[in-house]
Amino acid sequence: MISDEQVRRRVTQIMAEEFELEPELLQPDATLYEDLGLDSLDAVDMVVALEKAFGMKMTDEEAVRAVRTLGDLFELVCRLKNQQAAKE
């Protein structure tokens, strides 16, 4: 199983690559919409990219919509990853 730290690194890498963002911008307190310049349309692309990278489904829209910062996103992906591992 991959550790939370590995998940964080992978999420950062995906955001940098898929949204062509400068890695130094990708701090946990960076807000997706203001600091990173994503919009509601990018949110779907982000979900699709993360689902593919981690082989899991992010079907809880409420939880996805509640994500404001990159730190929130780390937390959500870690939580889903751990839930998935618990099921297996």
Partner: protein, 499 residues
């Protein structure tokens, strides 16, 4: 050339978007790659017989039905003669494994009676299924015109995550009943194991609420739109392919076609979403969007025989009955079978339903179709426009023979003369969709279809790959895209006034 809005594609979605925008006094130009407008709805003629391609029957055309309301709003309804299937009309389903036969009527009451007679121990499951369809559609604005549009478009339905397969298997263990309840999947192209209950409900509910035929078929719909658009002064440039979308300062500036440039501040693209990626300059979309769109799962294709009989009277049984053969269980759209014609197939004669005597030749036409996979034709695939190998012709003729053989075995039709054949290769080249995907991108579980809005200001998407597939789905996608430009609720209010 200049316009306010350029619509790329003249299928039903593009025609609907254009007509909706002209209602709001926008100046619109449509650009179509093919020589004739209409996309999947235009017919072709062999030996004097016009054949429908992408339209056999539709729902939502009764009083208060969304397609009728929309067509009234756009001014095309008065050009069309629409006939409801009579109460005896149905989709007659033969279950291949048990040889049981079930009439799927276009009425909730009659369907429930019929299903209960055919499956006497399953009354509860049947009732639960039918109630689920109605309940889901009651929360969808296109079926419940009192609802506003925006909430539905911006957030998924609570039922969107429910899979069709687990739902059906929870209702009944009878594989024949499962197959019957899953059979509307044929009309949106998603295998039941990948399908969601909500999309299934939209399609099934539309037909169970009433099926309709139109004199002249899909071509008559196209012609009605062309008449309305001509009155509104819309130019339709056919035989021109849009080669790129022009962008200036992160804003759409128009399109470059095979014949020149058209300047416009809005561009609506209605083709397959994947092909859009080649039309937009690098750096506009992010990699995440490219990857998402490139990885969209498509529907499979179809293999279709367009044939004729000498005596149209011999097709009497087919006038208001579509004959389906389906496998038991949830395999209705399985492809990659050794003998695909022994699985699901449809025999229909849309021309028999035309009332116009001027269209009498159409009454001799008969269409046989079955799901088909791209892999069947992959060995013969050459680029569009190039001569296909002789082996392809042989394969096509043999496949057609086997399909005709099935029509004889199942329904006793032995005198069908094949006049044309559509394979996944044909559909790829004629409709311009990858893999000949007849219903475009799948509307399936766990797939996020693109919406109308894009990151590029002034660039909009529409068509069966976006909101929903089929005549109804693609039409509504055209309306929704026009609504995104004009303001969704004001346009929706105008449309609803026509109910």
């Amino acid at each position: 050339m200049k316009a306010e809005v350029v619509v790329i594609g003249s299928g039903i979605s593009g025609l609907t978007a254009a007509a909706s925008l002209t209602k709001r006094n926008r100046q619109v130009v449509i650009v179509e790659r093919n020589q004739k407008p209409g996309g999947a709805l235009k017919h072709f003629v062999r030996k004097g017989i016009p054949f429908d391609v992408g339209f056999h029957y539709s729902g939502c055309l009764g009083s208060g039905g969304i397609l009728r309301v929309l067509w009234e709003y756009l001014g095309v309804w008065s050009h069309l003669r629409v006939h409801p299937f009579p109460s005896e009309g149905n989709d007659s389903l033969i279950l291949r494994n048990s040889e049981k036969s079930v009439q799927a009527f276009f009425s909730y009451e009659r369907l429930e009676d019929e299903l209960q007679q055919a499956f006497p121990n399953e009354a509860e499951g049947i009732a639960t299924y039918l109630k689920a369809l109605r309940d889901i559609c009651a929360s969808i604005p296109f079926y419940n015109l009192d609802l506003s549009l925006t909430p539905f478009l911006r957030a998924p339905l609570s039922s969107a995550k429910i899979g069709l397969a687990p739902f059906l298997t929870s209702l009944t263990k009878d594989p024949d009943l499962q197959a019957v309840l899953a059979s509307p999947a044929f009309l949106y192209g998603v295998p039941p194991r990948q399908a969601g209950l909500a999309v299934h409900a939209m399609v099934a509910h539309a037909f169970i609420s009433g099926a309709y035929a139109i004199d002249g078929g899909g071509q008559a719909i196209v012609d009605a739109f062309l008449a309305t658009l001509a009155e509104a002064g819309v130019d339709i440039l056919t035989g021109q392919e849009v080669e790129s979308v022009l962008v200036k300062e992160n804003q759409v500036a128009g399109v470059k076609t095979s014949e020149g440039e058209i300047y416009a501040s809005h561009v609506i693209y209605t083709g397959h979403p994947t092909s859009l990626l080649d039309l937009v300059p690098d750096g506009i979309f992010r990699k995440a969007f490219y990857n998402r769109i490139r990885n969209l799962i498509n529907t499979d294709s179809m293999f279709v025989v367009f044939g004729a009989v000498d005596d149209p009277g011999s097709l009497d049984d087919l006038t208001w009955v579509n004959h389906y053969a389906i496998p038991s269980g949830l395999d209705i759209l399985d492809v990659n079978l050794k003998y695909p014609e022994e699985s699901a197939l449809l025999m229909t004669a849309p021309g028999r339903r035309y009332s116009d005597s001027a269209l009498s030749d159409a009454q001799r036409g008969i269409i046989l179709m079955r799901p088909a996979s791209w892999d069947e034709v992959a060995p013969f695939s050459v680029d569009s426009g190039k001569a296909r190998p002789a082996s392809y012709k042989r394969w096509k003729a043999q496949s057609a023979d086997r399909l005709l053989d099935q029509a004889k075995k199942l329904w006793g039709y032995s005198r069908i003369e094949p006049l044309a054949i559509g394979s996944p290769l044909t559909f790829r080249d004629k409709l311009g969709v990858p893999g000949g995907a007849v219903y475009g991108v799948q509307h399936c579980l766990n797939q996020y279809n693109p919406g109308a809005r894009t990151r590029l200001s002034g660039l909009w998407l529409s068509g069966q790959g976006t909101l929903m597939t089929g005549i109804v789905g693609a039409s509504l996608s055209g309306l929704v895209t026009a609504g995104e430009i004009e303001g969704l609720e004001p346009l929706w209010d105008e449309v609803r006034q026509c109910r």
